[in-house]
Amino acid sequence: MAKIEINKERCKGCLFCISVCPKGMLKKSKQLNKRGLNYAEFIDTGSCIGCSLCAVICPDCCIEVYR
C-alpha cells in the first residue's frame, strides 16, 4: 500500500509524472491552480506501488511518496 501527495500549487503541469507512472495513478486536472495551470492529480485507486518514479522525475519537487 502506497500513496503520493502532490503540492498542486507548486505543480507546473509538465505531465512528466503522469507519463512515468507504471500504474497510471496520475492525471491532468480540469481545474487550474493559482498559477493558472492544469496540475497533476493523484487518483488513488489503491494501486500505487510507491515506486517513486513520479517524484524522481518531477522538476518542481511537488511529490512526496508514502509507503
Binding site: 507548486r10 507546473k12 509538465c14 512515468v20 522538476p59 511518496v65 508514502y66
Partner: protein
C-alpha cells in the same frame, strides 16, 4: 505509512522560476539529494554563474556564490584553494561552460583542480531567449540560427566533455540525461561519484547532463524528453567518457 520520498533538506521549500518541464529543477534536486546523502550540506559551496539557474542560491540551502558569465571555474578554483576543507562545485550551462567560459573550463580541468562540475547541456541559451549554444545541433533553429545551425557557418556541436577527458588533470567525465526516471537516477549516481571524487581529493570531475528546455526547443515538456532520447543523445552519447 512512511514518507519514502520527499524534498531533500538541502533544497529550500520554495517554488522555482523555471518553466514547466525545465530540467534545472530536476538537476537542482538531485544535487540536493546527493549533498544530503553525503552529509556535506554545511561544507558545500556552490558556484552558479549567469544562466537560467543564476538564482540557484534561492533554492539550495547551502553557501553559494554567483559568478560572471563563463567564469564559474575561475571563481571555484579560488574558493577551493582558499578553503580546501569545503566541497566546491560549479553548476554551469552549455553557454557558460563551453562558449564564453571555454578558456576557464579547459584550464581549470588541465590544472586538475579538485572540483565538481555539473554541466547542464540544454543545447540553447535559455536565460537570454533561446539563442544558439555551442552544443546546438546541426539544423536546430534558434533565435540566432533562424535557418538552423549550419556547419559551414557556425561549426559543429561542441563535445567539450570529450575534449576535457583528454586532459591528464581530469579524473572523471560522465554524460547522463534527464530523459527518463531511470536516466535521472543514473544522473544522481554520477553526481554522487563526482562529489565523492572531490572528497577523496581525486581531482576534476564533471557530469554533463542533457536537460530539457521545452521553452526554447519549442516543444511540450514531454516531447522534449523524447527529443533528448531520439535526437540529442544521439549526438551526445550517454555514458562514461573518462
Amino acid at each position: 505509512m512512511n514518507k519514502i520520498y520527499s524534498r531533500p533538506k538541502a533544497l529550500k521549500d520554495v517554488s522555482t522560476h523555471y518553466c514547466p518541464g525545465c530540467g534545472h529543477g530536476i538537476a537542482h534536486r538531485l544535487i540536493a539529494e546527493v549533498v544530503d546523502e553525503l552529509g556535506i550540506r554545511e561544507q558545500v559551496i556552490a558556484v552558479a554563474p549567469v544562466g537560467c539557474a543564476v538564482i540557484a542560491y534561492d533554492y539550495w540551502a547551502f553557501d553559494c556564490s554567483e559568478a560572471a558569465h563563463g567564469r564559474a571555474l575561475a571563481v571555484a578554483t579560488a574558493i577551493k584553494r582558499v578553503r580546501p576543507e569545503t566541497i566546491v562545485f560549479t553548476y554551469q550551462g552549455d553557454g557558460d561552460l563551453a562558449a564564453i567560459g571555454t578558456n576557464e573550463t579547459i584550464h581549470a580541468a588541465n590544472r586538475g583542480e579538485n572540483l565538481t562540475v555539473i554541466f547542464i547541456n540544454n543545447a540553447v541559451y535559455g536565460m537570454t531567449g533561446g539563442q544558439m549554444a555551442p552544443t546546438t545541433l546541426l539544423g536546430q533553429k534558434t533565435a540566432t540560427t533562424p535557418l538552423g545551425r549550419d556547419a559551414q557557418l557556425q561549426g559543429y556541436p561542441l563535445k567539450i566533455s570529450e575534449l576535457l577527458a583528454q586532459l591528464p588533470g581530469v579524473k572523471y567525465v560522465q554524460r547522463t540525461s534527464l530523459q527518463s526516471a531511470q536516466d535521472i537516477l543514473k544522473t544522481k549516481q554520477a553526481i554522487k561519484e563526482a562529489f565523492k571524487n572531490q572528497m577523496n581529493n581525486a581531482g576534476f570531475s564533471l557530469v554533463e547532463i542533457l536537460s530539457p528546455c521545452p521553452t526554447y526547443w519549442g516543444l511540450s515538456p514531454l516531447k522534449s524528453l523524447e527529443w533528448i532520447k531520439d535526437v540529442l543523445s544521439k549526438e551526445f552519447p550517454l555514458g562514461r567518457i573518462k
